[in-house]
């Protein structure tokens, strides 16, 4: 066992990479849940994003186009969910599940010919002096642009929800759709937009796994983080900055666990791997004492009686 082989700066840098797919998926789901919709189909949208991004990047040679395609694919799949829950008044839990099943199967079909292919590499942002700084360099600089985009997205969502009119309307719809409807807001339209945003974000998260983190395509490759994104939103009690904190915590657990394994520490991996979920349950219990944090209309369908 040799713990000194673990370089803390590289550890932090790699946990940031490990956490980025979670950041994308969780911030998207946060917006969806803020609007009062519970979309359990995150995994389906992620995996479809992963395969669409991968295929596009391989065919065009441009990872950037891959990410655009991934966001589009995630959003397209989420349209199905929007139709089911917002127009057909279907149960949100079951609809989310159908989305996950469909996405998993669909991605396996589409990705069949891409197994074992290497995707084009995304250029890292290389700042001549800054990246070479001893500790700060690898942590803060020298990542790929998508990682910074994820953090920027968190900041943007936070600012929009907290300060803008759109954010206020979104929250109103999520807290009390009848009141929002009475005030003249288009509940269904706002929720559909939120669902689309969530789908696009989940798609980006999936593509980040297949294009940057792993980088290759394997069937069901998002399985490791299937519901952590969902858990994260609850863990963060629907606050964007806490999503960042939680994602880095979960990313940290993953990376530290891999490093400990490599260093030969005999901690059962399985117990470490289940810890994020146990922590989430604990947070859920603590939060349920304080009902104010969850959007009040979460999971309830809206049908305007005209």
């Amino acid at each position: 066992m040799d713990l000194s082989a673990i370089n803390p700066a590289l550890l932090i840098a790699s946990l940031m990479v490990a956490a980025t797919p979670l950041l994308f998926a969780a911030i998207g789901e946060l917006v969806v849940e803020k609007s009062g919709v519970l979309n359990l189909g995150v995994e389906g949208m992620m995996i479809v994003g992963a395969v669409a991004g991968f295929a596009t990047a391989v065919e065009t040679g441009s990872p950037l186009l891959g990410f655009v395609a991934a966001a589009g694919a995630g959003a397209t799949l989420s349209v199905l969910f929007a139709i089911l829950t917002q127009y057909a008044q279907a149960n949100q839990v079951a609809s989310g599940l159908s989305l996950t099943l469909f996405g998993l199967g669909m991605s396996a079909l589409l990705g069949q010919s891409y197994v074992g292919v290497k995707p084009p590499q995304m250029q890292k942002i290389d700042l001549p002096v800054l990246s070479d700084l001893p500790v700060v360099g690898p942590i803060l600089f020298g990542h790929d642009p998508m990682l910074y985009l994820a953090i920027a997205l968190i900041a943007a969502v936070w600012a929009v929800i907290k300060f803008s009119r759109i954010g206020l309307v979104l929250r109103a719809v999520g807290e009390n759709h009848d009141a929002a409807h009475a005030l003249g807001y288009k509940v269904v339209r706002i929720r559909i937009l939120a669902i689309l945003f969530g789908g696009a974000c989940a798609g980006l998260g999936g593509a980040y796994i297949s294009l940057i983190r792993v980088p290759q395509w394997t069937e069901g490759m998002t399985a490791g983080i299937r519901w952590i994104a969902l858990a994260l939103v609850v863990f963060a009690s629907w606050k964007p900055w806490r999503v960042l904190l939680g994602a880095y915590l979960f990313g940290g657990v993953t990376v530290v666990q891999l490093n400990l394994q490599a260093a030969g520490v005999a901690i059962p991996v399985e117990y470490l791997a289940m810890s994020p979920y146990l922590i989430t349950i604990l947070v859920l219990v603590i939060l349920s004492a304080d009902k104010s944090s969850a959007p009040a209309a979460l999971g309830r369908n809206f049908h305007a009686a005209r």
Partner: protein
């Protein structure tokens, strides 16, 4: 202009017709999808819905129908009780795993003793394991008001990690040459859930599934608890005024569904699967949710729906070997089926009317 009008009563006719319409729509959409991917649509659909029943090797596939259908029906019956009352157990997959681990654990603890009481003890342990795992969200919901959907979902992953840990550690076969996975219970007579009639696919799990169907039917139609469940789901406020105890109902619904899922896992690990291994669970717990919905949360409906979903599993295996499709491609069909079912369900609860709204 197309408008939706809520029906005062859910339509009986549509309630029965939607599963059939959904299956048809899935076949058509699935065919179109395969055509778009450049595969012959008929060749893709036929192995799933025709081959297992009437094809050349049907004598092999028909017993598989019982083997694959039994756990689905067993789990879905339990889930339907909760779903009817608006209690959402999404973690049947985890309860299925825990039931298998508890059941197999008891069996392996007795190895190599041969005695008649081992298998019954394993059944009890399996049911207990599933019940225990489902009681966690039930307790947290009744005590703290925690959302049972998220807790039961999180516990699936925890159970999967337990499964991995067990098959690599405590339950690993000491004579397994270092391979992960437990002893094969099929080779241990006292713990083997053998076919009751050789070659029929009929094992104790199938019997349990049939008993569960009858039990659920009687419970829902002839028993006070079933009445509580239905009333709580359809009119929660009325149920509260009538003085029904919601805590007891939550504990009962989640506990029962967990127990049945645990039993399903136990019958699977001691029978068709044979051993505790990392990839033991194949998503029955999630597919059972589709089965419950497809069967309209009605025991007899679930029995039929379980058969249909078992067909897609078997058909998926055939399509996989014949058409070289990835194994998870069958999930496209399962997802689509649930999708169409939910979409067409609209017609059960709403009437679509054309034209302008009438002035009241």
């Amino acid at each position: 202009m197309i408008r939706l009008e809520k029906r005062p009563q859910p339509s009986q006719a549509w309630s029965l017709a939607t599963p059939l319409v959904a299956v048809l729509a899935t076949m058509i959409a699935g065919g179109l999808l395969f055509a778009a991917l450049g595969k012959d649509p008929v060749e893709a659909i036929r192995p799933i819905f025709w081959e297992p029943l009437f094809g050349e090797f049907a004598f092999y596939y028909r017993p598989q129908l019982l083997v694959k259908g039994a756990p689905l029906v067993l789990i879905a019956i339990g889930l339907s009780l909760g779903f009817k009352a608006g209690i959402w157990n999404i973690g049947a997959e985890g309860q299925y795993i825990m039931g298998a681990l508890f059941g197999a654990g008891v069996g392996l603890a007795f190895y190599p003793l041969e005695a008649w009481y081992i298998f019954p003890l394993m059944v009890i342990a399996g049911g207990f394991g599933g019940w225990l795992w489902a009681s966690i969200p039930a307790y947290l919901k009744t005590r703290f008001g925690t959302n049972e959907i998220l807790v039961s979902l999180m516990l699936v992953y925890v159970a999967e990690q337990f499964l991995a840990s067990m098959s690599l550690g405590l339950m690993k076969n000491p004579e397994g040459f270092g391979f992960p996975g437990s002893r094969n219970l099929q080779q241990y007579d006292s713990a083997h859930n053998a076919e009751l009639i050789a070659g029929s696919g009929m094992h104790w799990g199938v019997v349990a599934a049939l008993i569960a169907v009858i039990f659920a039917y009687v419970l829902l139609n002839r028993h006070m608890v079933g009445y509580h469940i239905r009333l709580t789901g359809e009119a929660p406020r009325a149920a509260r005024f009538a003085g029904f105890n919601p805590t007891r109902l939550i504990l009962f619904c989640l506990g029962t569904s967990g127990m049945l899922a645990g039993l399903a896992g136990m019958f699977e690990v001691s029978g068709p699967s044979g051993q505790v291994s990392i990839d033991f669970n194949v998503g029955y717990g999630f597919t059972a949710i589709i089965v419950a919905f497809l069967g309209r949360l009605h025991p007899v409906g679930i029995l039929l729906a379980g058969g249909l979903m078992a067909l897609t599993y078997i058909g998926g295996d055939i399509a996989q070997s014949n058409l070289h499709l990835p194994s998870s491609a069958i999930q496209v069909f399962q997802g689509m089926l649930l999708f169409f079912l939910l979409a067409f369900d609209l017609l059960t609860n709403f009437r679509i009317s054309l034209g302008k709204p009438e002035v009241a």
